[in-house]
Symmetry: C3
Subunit: 335 residues, 3 copies
């Protein structure tokens, strides 16, 4: 398996094998599956969990990592083709990726949403170009439109919480955030829940409807897996019988990269998840969020510190899921 | 042993065991005491020695590290409870510490002095909150009021230099620095020397008296160990018969977090340690400083480059002391 | 071998042994030559390839690294002697280097050109001072005037490409870049090619002649090795029969550190290497560059993406050459 750019890059069979291995690794460490291997990590955007869990996970498996942070400890990278590079970027990914790949057994790259052309970001142009340039297996550590390591960990978290696959009800809710955030986690969560066969409701204010291609793709996965994908602005209807509320903020696709987003989002400061949101849900409904989360902006202390929240375990699963993925990619699943 | 926030967290018996092991590790490396272990390092403030010595030490013992630098390669962390997080900080330590702890066998964290409320900084509110949130053993890599790894290394340095415990005379002298620096090293050095049973003199200009709780605590330790703690502005009296001059700058506790500090400190630019300071001391009196040090601001080239200075060996002991501490904390002293 | 500040620090015999080992390491990994060893890396300037290839290479050999980045994750370092340190720099290399050296088995340091005094930069004052202060073997990871790890990798690349040593024709060409870049790679490439016995032509616009001491030193090496070193502004003459075009930009030595450089370089925006440059060369002449390179500023997409370009393999050789060097320095060539 050469690349993991989206959860769909894992066949159903491989996905189940990786999830099973992740659960095993959580119970019993494996010490030397990646012995002598080097994983190169490139962070074009800041990171806490992804950086730490990748470094820790590779180390626990006996391997090593190096970290390159363009624009921070090193210069910015250009990714557009054919440009005259007389601006900020001192190096092109056409050089950087093949070179870094030649030092590593696998590359993991966090890119970013351009936040200008919705079509380009939906097509994941930058990340796919880098994957094409890589001489070694390549993992998306969050791109313009996907965060598949998060999705894999979230799937495990839902399994751990015994949220049903078919018939499980997951609400993916927009939440207020002062800035227009990328669509990556929203799209990946939707894909994941749809593939899992769940009944998924996207809850959002008007103007924050997810892009049609994202919804249509999710509906195709849902159809295959026996699930349902729908969208609404009606909170009570969305939360009715919900097992899980997964909160995330995202930019307005209708005003993508434009200043109109700010005025629109400012009207929805009340989209801060609080206990009353859960009244129509099942009694022990859970709260998930990929983190980082701004407390009392996106969700209240009461929810985060209460028994519904599974965000710490969810983040903990990043480690187990990624270790299982690396074993799959670097040893064909035979550590 | 779950936490090392202050030198006093080590019982006398464990402290001696750690010091003995540090001396052993300096003579003969131990290769695999931390094999398969991961130490997570969080630096909210810059670091040279602590970062390098922790990474080197863990590696020499066969373990691995990851490093997170909030505000640098990642976003800032909030630590106040109950706030609406609509400012710079994108994540709260209530999430960050449990999550990072779930990836590691031990967390080491460098925090900072808020520099606003002296009471809060004396109570080490931020560091203690993070330690409480950690699911794994936790080491203070410098906080508002303590730098216990430095203190442990300094104790070893004094032993190596054969400075007597009881009856050894250590002068902790304020020195000029353009900025109001935290109290951590001053407080930890005082605690360490008092616990060691030494005769400790705090030498400082008027207005830079150490806070009463810091002095009182040190006096209690001194009483237990047969030592003496006193304070003066009289350099010749302080240095009389001194074995060691330990220089450090600190903010004015009387004007903590207030602009009056600047005018007060500007009057004491002549508090730059120089050879004449040592005239009343014993002939081979030594100079210590935790580093980094501004040459010819806090201490002259003549002292730093002369035979009195033990600052390089002192910094070298960070490695040995921390390795011994990690073995104590992660293997109950049985590598 | 205690220090590698310049390619000439390797005797001819050792250089050939290191090159042979680099070729071996490329074919067959060696797993534990540096087991238990720690390499400290200090980057005073940004890095992508050097950082990644050093971390990857040490890890592949079983060792570990730590990275200190003054001015980035830590404070700036002062290197001038006798100054009153009341500015930006909070620590002097007189402390930092011995201390970091005490944590490591070898130090690798990237410094920078001061870009003020050409004489100081030619004498490599900063790097040589740091090497003198190091208690452990010391490697120059690029200084004001030398990039010997690059030169070693370039030598291997020329061998791999079967470019003849004696009689091989290498053109080191100035290329346009918006900023006055250091002389390090130009000087090291010239030294390397001269030592290799090649016929080396420095091609540059008027005002960008390399400094006389650099040219004279290269001529001495060429004389010993049976090569020739010359300089011209005539592109067609320089490229006549060339096997290799090595492009690099550098500051005007005639206007070193002065604003006149900008006006002078602005006149030479057409020094962007393109296919027509190669017309007088041998048919399969190759293009080399140390990277990073600004596409369509220093060299066109057509050249970089075409069959002449060997820049990816060249950068890949950094890994193999450095691994061989570290084995030579840390194990006397007996892994």
């Amino acid at each position: 398996m050469r690349r993991f750019l989206d959860l769909a890059d894992l066949s159903a069979e491989r996905r189940e094998a990786v999830l099973a291995r992740a659960a095993q690794l959580e119970r019993a460490p494996v010490r030397d599956a990646l012995s002598g291997r080097v994983v190169g990590l490139v962070f074009m955007n800041p990171s806490v969990r992804t950086l730490a869990s990748m470094q820790a996970g590779v180390a626990q498996l006996g391997g090593s990592t190096f970290v390159v942070t363009p624009g921070q400890g090193s210069w910015k990278l250009e990714h557009r083709d054919g440009v005259v590079m007389d601006g900020d970027a001192a190096e092109h990914v056409r050089e950087a990726i093949p070179v870094l790949g030649s030092y590593a057994d696998l590359l993991g790259v966090r890119s970013f949403a351009e936040g200008r052309s919705l079509d380009d970001d939906l097509a994941d142009v930058t990340m796919r170009k880098m994957a094409d340039l890589s001489p070694v297996p390549f993992v998306n550590l969050e791109s313009a439109i996907a965060h598949p390591c998060q999705a894999l960990a979230d799937w495990k978290t839902l399994d751990d919480l015994e949220v049903p696959r078919r018939g499980g009800r997951l609400v993916l809710s927009w939440a207020y955030h002062p800035k227009p955030l990328p669509l990556a986690v929203a799209a990946s969560t939707l894909t994941m829940a749809a593939m899992r066969g769940m009944t998924v409701t996207v809850l959002r204010p008007d103007g924050f409807e997810l892009p049609a291609p994202v919804m249509e793709r999710a509906k195709r996965f849902a159809a295959e897996a026996g699930g349902v994908v729908r969208e609404t602005g009606d909170r009570a209807a969305a939360m009715d019988g919900a097992h899980v509320l997964y909160a995330k903020s995202w930019a307005s696709p209708a005003h993508y990269g434009r200043p109109e987003d700010a005025a629109l989002r400012a009207r929805h400061r009340d989209w801060c998840v609080d206990e009353p949101w859960f009244r129509p849900a099942v009694r022990d409904a859970r709260f998930l969020h990929c983190l980082p989360v701004r407390r009392n902006v996106k969700v209240t202390d009461a929810v985060l510190d209460g028994p519904r929240s599974a965000v710490i375990a969810q983040a903990g699963n990043r480690l187990h899921a990624q270790k299982a993925l690396l074993i799959e990619m670097l040893t064909e699943g035979h550590p």
